[in-house]
Symmetry: C2
Subunit: 394 residues, 2 copies
């Protein structure tokens, strides 16, 4: 018999397997004096309707459900308001503590330890954290500029034996790509035929510039045999600090997801739910979204111009928050990153998003967020970036 020591401390395989989040590892750099960070995925403080939200807090103060226990699936009034956004029924909506909890709940509810989930080659790293926490493996599906490739997907499904596919088909993180309506239809048909459930992570859908994106996989699945669980969020369109997201789920899975949520946190914060409800009920949401879209589009244009001028291949995107830019050729990625930090700017290196260590060429890419900084800061950051490219080339 021994005392518990560091080495004998009980620690699950899941806990041991959890990777360090490579984006959170950049936070100390981002916090340096004078640093301009294009690395994070944070909405701009300017994109937060403070006046409307402060009014929402006042309204929430008078609602008893701000303080009391409520239903696990969410307050029925909020579920109804969230359902209205996508023309769904309240029963399809389960409120979550941010879309991150939606990822966790769906993986826990659908997958056993040892299972494999299909994912894009480049993806949001916290999804890989959830999979590690559930002892689930990632199987990378090739992507092109239009999102995941349907050709060869049937073989990937056979080879991986996966029953679940995770993707962000609209303004993808990190790539910014949008799956076309045709490709969506082909994906749904294939997944329906091969018995694969799709987790559609969809937090950026509202942030389009000129025209709305194609219908969601969730919406298209209604006229299709495919099964889709969609994850939505108030984080990019209202405020990330609320930690209110929602799942749209087929009714045969809903009770299982709700039971898993109950084990996980009983219910999402009633305080946050009532603030979100008051804001959505205030009539300000659609007008404010238009403001945010225009703000982000102007920043997108400015950042693209600056990146191209600095030597990056940075194709325009049609919404969301991110560029997936190819580094100037004949430049060492590690040197460029170091030089950029030294100049006082920061981006997220491509390898932070790799589904696995075999993803080809990913170190030659980087994610740049156009949402978080003012036009002036964006201009300063791209000047610094151009200097860093220059210094790394010579």
């Amino acid at each position: 018999m021994t005392n518990i020591t560091h080495s004998t401390m009980p620690l699950s395989r899941s806990a041991k397997a959890l990777p360090k989040n490579p984006l959170r590892a950049l936070y100390p750099l981002a916090a340096r004096d004078g640093m301009i960070s294009l690395a994070n995925g944070h909405p701009s403080p300017d994109a937060c309707d403070h006046t409307g939200l402060q009014d929402a807090l006042k309204t929430a103060a008078a609602d008893p459900m701000t303080w009391r226990y409520g239903p696990t699936a969410g307050d029925p009034r909020l579920r109804s308001a969230l359902a209205d956004i996508s023309g769904d029924q309240q029963d399809s909506v389960v409120v979550t503590s941010g879309a991150q909890q939606g990822i966790d709940l769906t993986i826990r509810t659908l997958c056993n330890a040892g299972d494999t989930v299909l994912v894009p080659e480049a993806l949001y790293p916290a999804t890989l954290s959830v999979m590690a926490a559930c002892n689930v493996s990632a199987y990378a599906v090739p992507e092109d500029v239009g999102g995941i490739c349907i050709n060869g997907l049937d073989k990937a499904i056979w080879d991986s034996n996966a029953r679940v596919l995770y993707l962000t088909p609209t303004f993808g993180n990190p790539t910014g790509s949008v799956l076309s309506e045709d490709r969506r239809a082909a994906l749904l048909a294939l997944c329906a035929r091969m018995g694969v459930l799709i987790i559609e992570d969809d937090p950026y859908r509202d942030l389009w510039f000129e025209a709305p994106p194609p219908p969601s996989l969730w919406e298209m699945s209604k006229s299709n045999d495919a099964r889709v669980i969609a994850l939505r969020s108030c984080s990019k369109s209202i405020a990330p600090g609320l930690r209110i997201g929602w799942m749209l789920t087929p009714q045969e899975i809903t009770p299982h997801l709700v039971a898993m949520k109950q084990a996980s946190d009983l219910q999402s914060s009633g305080t946050a739910q009532m603030v979100a409800l008051a804001y959505l009920s205030s009539g300000r949401f659609s007008g404010w979204l238009a403001t945010v879209r225009a703000l982000y589009q102007a920043r997108h244009d400015a950042l693209q111009k600056g990146l191209v001028a600095a030597g990056f291949d940075a194709p325009a995107v049609t919404g969301g928050m991110f560029f997936w830019a190819r580094l100037p050729e004949h430049i060492d990625p590690a040197c460029l990153f170091e030089a950029t930090v030294a100049q006082g700017a920061l981006y997220a290196p491509g390898e932070a998003f790799a589904a696995c260590s075999q993803v080809n060429d990913i170190t030659r890419y980087a994610r740049f967020c156009f949402a978080s900084n003012s036009l002036e800061k964006i201009s300063q950051a791209t000047d610094r970036l151009a200097d860093a490219v220059h210094l790394s080339t010579t």
Copy 2:
């Protein structure tokens, strides 16, 4: 190749194993017109400092962290305020989305599928849900009126091969029992010697009547080799709708718990955190707690009197929210429950709290919450209960 149907839907073993929460199953009964429920574990709306909380909302409205992303472990100011409550350091505190998330995170971080965790014979059923979600088994440790028995615990540890013990040593749910300081010391020494980590679920600690309870296992472990993770909550002392709890954790486990939390929900609601911070900083908390203690003590006394008059064996407790009362002898538990519901009152049957199906005699007990109802309602409820006992006897 087949379409996904209900029967082929991917569903994890965890999701299949999740039990229905027997307390939530009582909600439809509790919602009946005129029903007085003593079954739930909800703080009284009268025990919520609405004036103070509305002021806290106003203060939170001006704080940028109400709306933005923040650190996974919680806002440093809130961690510091929560640490102050127990005389700890900020580094020991990890903010959780209610203590329920603390249970989930600790089990996920400490236990593998197939592991066994020691639990009291009668416990909070949502802990069993977490264990089912993690494919972890419960091994019941005998209890007496003073909480879990130390005699025989070494054998239980050997027999179960468990590395983790979960308990609520202070105003236990459902039993209301308090582990004495001597028994705490013996428990800590034994667990230290045998390499068992203790999860101390401690949400009721502040709700004492005449005198504070013994020091927490967490506090006592500082002068001991035992390892304790304590789970605390704002739900019983401020407001459950906030969904703000916290863990006190040994520093060698903290990064693992934080990584698991990051995968689970990134961070707890900033909105709720800033309201909790503003309330704790307002200076109202300790005065309000005194009000709540007096309120609950009066209700405790009234409910005890009524239960005894109705024929129950309902020993006084010294704080918390619950009686664990033995049903009148020579009465069928199922008949009594049905008769009580028919009379318009509700309690939580003992078997809802059984760690396993082998727990002796548990159907002869029931949990009664004295916190939720006014003195007038308590009097009506015990009158109805007395009628139900009378009807079930004759």
